[in-house]
């Protein structure tokens, strides 16, 4: 079963972080990624550029509308994701709690619809 871990945190947290704290955070992420790669849970994962770079597209009545910014303005922003393989929700939650951002932000755990055979 695959789960997407959506990493939400406040971008300002990172902007205001001391260089040392930021370096520690990066190291923690490196270690975490490596650990789930070794355990075989890791399928994919990437950091996103800040929401300031986001664009949103909608098609209404056949017409495309493009707007600047994310779909929803929220206090915490989607900053990255991991796609993991886990046997059930408990295992996925146990992995999500180790994502370094869980300490300052929130990790949303979403099961993927299994591919139709």
């Amino acid at each position: 079963m695959q789960y997407l871990l959506l990493i939400y945190d406040n971008e300002a947290n990172f902007a205001n972080m001391s260089q040392a704290d930021f370096a520690t955070m990066l190291q923690d992420y490196g270690r975490f990624t490596q650990s789930i790669q070794q355990s075989g849970h890791h399928r994919a994962g990437q950091q996103l550029q800040p929401v300031a770079t986001a664009s949103t597209v909608r098609v209404r009545d056949g017409k495309r509308q493009v707007t600047d910014g994310p779909f929803a303005e929220t206090r915490e922003q989607l900053g990255g994701f991991y796609l993991i393989e886990a046997k059930d929700l408990d295992e996925a939650l146990a992995i999500a709690e180790q994502v370094p951002s869980a300490r300052i932000g929130s990790i949303e755990v979403r099961p993927l619809v299994p591919p139709r055979s």
Binding site: L89, D90, P111, V113, S117
Partner: protein
């Protein structure tokens, strides 16, 4: 053979084992329902089986297997068909130990923290207690359709997010058990004093909560916090018959006929609490149960050890700071030291603003002002409480008190009168 009592006793155990075998929550529930219907037809005709539980489990399992197999054939899923063939012929572990584990797994799944608390409560009552959706909806005063939706949605999440039907790992057991106890206690408190509506005490919810408490104490023996929770519910419930009149009027603790208190529940609850405390229970249920026990012990209202109760509220506050506990503590101190001390605490609490909108804050104030003979201010506080209260019996109680102090105000009288704890 009385099928209704059999249903009560066996529903949970049959369902728990069927879910373990098939791994499908939703289908299992339907299948167990069907198995009971089949029993109702066959047993009176052919005689009851030697082991009703085993009969029901195997009937329910076969129904789930049929369903999954039909689905798998349609979707051409060979692996699923094979899995079902194996399941159909497999030996079922019907040992006592397996049965205990099944029931615990069922409870922990229903009370999984990834589910919304209100959904946990509904699901527990539905699957663990075997209440119908109608009964649960009535208990919580929501439309049946809303409750049905809530249950459908939570089952869908269990299936689609793949919630495991499993015991939590050891390192999480205490934390998960806290969640289970909270669900049980929420069922009880809603039954003890409904937050809204015409009926104040919902007996069925109290009974189910106590039944759940007993079951948990059986399944997880010698857990002090669990025993304290059961003791707390028994001690509160022991006052049930005295807490409301036949026409659903609230009777306060002070005015209750203590002869109506259920001595059997007290005789069970007090030693249970003492054992729990000896074994190290120190959580909030234990503290609240200790307070309830001090009330239960007092033969007359004036025998109540309010100083000790106030000290227990102190400890409770340190464990878990909460404005509601602060309010209770203020009321206890008022009873121990006099209304003026209590009023000072309530004023301070009101100034903090955390309890704005909570009807029991002005109600408690009103009660103490009344005890001081400050009729005009008391009337004003009762009116504030009345503007906030949501259920009819409490509204009637507050109205009664308001009329009383208004009468005394115009008569200029001074009369001590009893209190606010129900």
């Amino acid at each position: 053979m009385n099928l209704e009592s059999l249903y009560r006793e066996e529903w949970r155990r049959v369902l728990a084992t069927t879910v373990r075998l098939t791994g499908d929550f939703d289908l299992s529930e339907e299948a167990v329902q069907d198995a009971f219907v089949a029993a109702l037809e066959q047993w009176p005709r052919d005689g009851a089986p030697a082991n009703p539980y085993a009969w029901l489990v195997s009937a329910a399992r076969n129904r789930v297997v049929d369903q999954i197999r039909r689905r798998a054939r349609l979707a051409d899923q060979g692996m699923e068909i094979e899995r079902m063939a194996a399941l159909e012929t497999s030996e079922i572990d019907l040992s006592e130990a397996a049965m205990v584990d099944d029931q615990l797994r069922l409870i922990f799944t229903c009370c999984h923290p990834a589910l919304a608390v209100e959904a946990q409560v509904a699901l527990t009552l539905r699957t663990v207690c075997g209440l119908t959706t109608d009964e649960i909806a009535r208990g919580f005063l929501v439309p049946v359709a809303t409750m049905a939706q809530r249950i459908v949605r939570v089952k869908r999440k269990i299936r689609d997010a793949r919630l495991p039907f499993a015991m939590p790992p050891k390192e999480r057991l205490a934390e998960r058990l806290d969640g289970v106890m909270l669900v049980v206690y929420l069922v009880f408190t809603e039954g003890y004093a409904a937050t809204s509506g015409k009926i104040w005490i919902r007996r069925q919810l109290c009974d189910e909560a106590i039944r759940l408490g007993r079951l948990l104490c059986e399944l997880i023996p010698r857990n002090p916090e669990l025993r304290a929770l059961l003791a707390l519910m028994l001690l509160h419930d022991s006052r049930r018959a005295a807490r409301a009149s036949a026409d659903e009027q609230i009777i306060t603790l002070e005015e209750q006929d203590r002869e109506l208190w259920d001595r059997r529940e007290i005789a069970e609850g007090v030693p249970l609490l003492e054992a729990a405390l000896r074994e190290g229970a120190q959580g909030e249920y234990a503290l609240q149960a200790a307070i309830a026990a001090l009330h239960a012990r007092a033969r007359r209202p004036e025998d109540t050890d309010w100083a000790q109760i106030a000290r227990l509220y102190d400890t409770l506050l340190q464990r878990r700071p909460s404005p509601v506990v602060e309010l209770n503590r203020a009321a206890a101190i008022a009873m121990a030291e006099g209304p003026a001390s209590g009023l000072a605490l309530i004023d301070a609490l009101e100034a903090k603003g955390e309890l704005a909108g909570y009807h029991l804050l002005p109600a408690a104030r009103a009660d103490l002002l009344r005890r001081e003979g400050r009729w005009r201010e008391a009337a004003e506080a009762y009116r504030q409480a009345l503007a906030l209260v949501a259920n009819d019996p409490e509204r009637q109680y507050l109205n009664r008190r308001l009329a009383e102090v208004e009468g005394l105000q115009s008569a200029g009288g001074a009369l001590g009168a009893p209190g606010i704890i129900y």
